[in-house]
């Protein structure tokens, strides 16, 4: 299935892009994140990142469906 991924903040820097579409067989978002973590060499681990699927915050064990939009959001605090 195809998943649209959107990156923010430190993850955008590490991925070198704001968004990408990936072909994946990952059953849920946690698995997808782990594969992207090794692909892009993310320094942040999953517990530091919040996950949104189709513009709602969800848990990491949420199953993915073809065409889902997945957003990874690291914490930010600048001002």
């Amino acid at each position: 299935m195809k998943i649209n991924i959107i990156y923010y903040a430190m993850l955008r820097e590490a991925a070198g892009q704001s968004a990408e579409t990936v072909e994946t067989e990952s059953a849920h978002a946690a698995e997808l994140f782990e594969s992207l973590k090794s692909k892009h060499d993310f320094s942040m681990c999953r517990s530091q990142v919040r996950l949104a699927v189709n513009d709602a915050f969800v848990d990491w064990d949420t199953p993915l469906n073809d065409g889902d939009s997945v957003v990874f959001i690291p914490p930010v605090a600048g001002g």
């Binding site: 959001i73 600048g78 001002g79």
Partner: protein
């Protein structure tokens, strides 16, 4: 601090001795003299007339402002009234401060403000025999204070005259007067928010200036709260500005409850989390924002909605990069702070499209925005900590969150030795505690523990009778506490 109006000649030496302070390294004095000409006329003498009651009140206010702004130890200002001759002293100002820079600035501030704000009028007598009242700065300003005209925003149907009145009655606390705080403060003041509080403990640094447009290089090292307030008072003299030149944690809950909404503009995750906790406890909504390089996040938290800790479930991270580490371009907090100001106005007026139970993410690389739904998490520790406490004196271990209480073991030493408490606590035997009620503080929350709950009920009731409604008795005694 002394401000006076006098009709007898001023004695500079005597005034100087009143302005001296042995703890200060600098004394700057100013003498305003009657001169023999003004705007082409030869002057023989002058008459000053004051509206004394108002003049003294305003003069004292100016000295108090100077004390706050420049850290004065002593300030003396005396203005003459009556008939003065050439060479007489018309006004005398003396200030003492630890160092010279503040003394020069403070003296200059006082005389400039006196000239403009204190109701004193001057009549000149000329060589030609005629005389005339001088158009002094006070006369020009008095009663003709130029005002901001809100017509361009009241024409909006969302605002209108009623909305404008509501803004004038609103009170907003802005925490942090930096990159986000500058646009927030400016747009709230410009919109006519009636009272704005500024919480900012920092002094101005050169690295602030590129994004913090309320400040200028000449003010480096000065307190940002006072500088921001000074600019905002000039920008909109009709509104009230309060400064809290301290860290947010020094504010009392009651001070926070004095505001309708908080706009959080701090560059530090720990402070954001603290504002979240305190605001939930105080029941005051908050507009949060954070930036990272070219991105911003905005979230509104109130007692009904999801909060900052709901966002960072399972413990919020505190090792998040600040602007100093990640880098920041001024326009980014400019945009995000403007959104915060707009959101605060939306919240105050109940306008459509305001944020609720969601996180707004603004990406200024590709100019995209996203609103991500964030439902309230009832298990979130911040909500649990702000839940109301039971009303009754007796509480069971099942109905309370033990982590919110300071446990006091009131049993006798032999009982304690036989069965020590399995949790963190202090030991104060009942009679000692009742004899020293000050061991309990009014803003703490205490759980008294004995062997069965009988002595603690008696003791807790005694505290309640003395006005402490924050002391509870554990039903069933020490054995009810979970093993460690």
């Amino acid at each position: 601090m002394m401000f006076a109006i006098r009709s007898e000649p001023l004695n500079a030496e005597q005034l100087k001795s009143e302005a001296e302070d042995p703890a200060c390294g600098a004394l700057v004095t100013f003498e305003g003299w009657v001169r023999n000409h003004n705007e082409g006329h030869d002057v023989t003498s002058l008459e000053y007339e004051a509206y004394s009651a108002l003049a003294v009140a305003e003069g004292e206010r100016i000295l108090a402002e100077a004390k706050e702004k420049f850290g004065l130890e002593k300030a003396v200002c005396v203005h003459r009234v009556g008939h003065l001759q050439i060479g007489d002293i018309a006004v005398w100002v003396g200030v003492s401060t630890p160092h010279r820079d503040a003394a020069f600035k403070a003296n200059r501030y006082i005389i400039d403000e006196i000239k403009v704000r204190v109701p004193i009028w001057k009549k000149e007598h000329y060589v030609a025999g005629d005389s005339g009242w001088v158009d002094c700065e006070q006369c020009a300003k008095h009663g003709h204070q130029p005002k901001m005209d809100y017509a361009r925003q009241t024409v909006l149907k969302e605002i209108g005259p009623l909305g404008q009145r509501k803004l004038a009655e609103s009170r907003v606390l802005v925490v942090g007067a930096g990159g986000l705080g500058c646009p927030v403060l400016t747009y709230l003041a410009g919109a006519g928010v009636g009272r704005i509080g500024i919480v900012e403990h920092d002094h101005l640094e050169a690295s602030n200036l590129h994004r913090q447009f309320l400040y200028a290089p000449e003010n480096l090292g000065e307190k940002k709260a006072a500088l921001a307030a000074e600019w905002l008072k000039r920008y909109n003299p009709a509104i009230e500005i309060e400064t809290h030149p301290a860290r947010f944690q020094t504010l009392e809950v009651e001070q926070i409850q004095d505001y309708d909404i908080i706009v959080e503009c701090v560059d530090c995750m720990e402070t954001k989390l603290l504002v979240n906790r305190v605001a939930l406890k105080a029941g005051v909504p908050v507009v949060f924002a954070s930036i990272y390089q070219f991105e911003g996040q905005v979230q509104v938290v109130d007692s009904e909605s999801s909060c900052l800790e709901c966002l960072y479930e399972g413990g919020a991270p505190t090792d998040v990069p600040s602007c100093a580490v990640a880098g920041v371009l001024g326009a980014v907090p400019g945009v995000i702070g403007s959104i915060q100001a707009l959101e605060a106005i939306k919240q105050l007026l109940g306008l459509d499209g305001r944020l609720s139970n969601e996180l707004l993410i603004v990406n200024l690389v590709d100019y995209s925005t996203r609103r991500i739904a964030l439902p309230r998490n009832d298990a979130c520790p911040a909500h649990a900590a702000s839940a109301p406490l039971p009303a009754s004196v007796d509480v069971t271990i099942d109905e309370i969150d033990l982590s919110r209480f300071q446990v006091i073991d009131i049993r006798e030493p032999d009982e304690v030795a036989a069965e020590p408490l399995p949790c963190e606590h202090v030991h104060i035997p009942m009679n000692t505690l009742l004899g020293n009620p000050r061991r309990v503080e009014k803003d703490g929350t205490y759980l008294l523990v004995c062997a069965a709950g009988v002595r603690t009920r008696y003791a807790a009731n005694a505290f309640r009778a003395a006005g402490y409604d924050n002391v509870y008795s554990l039903v069933g005694g020490n054995r009810m506490l979970p093993p460690s």
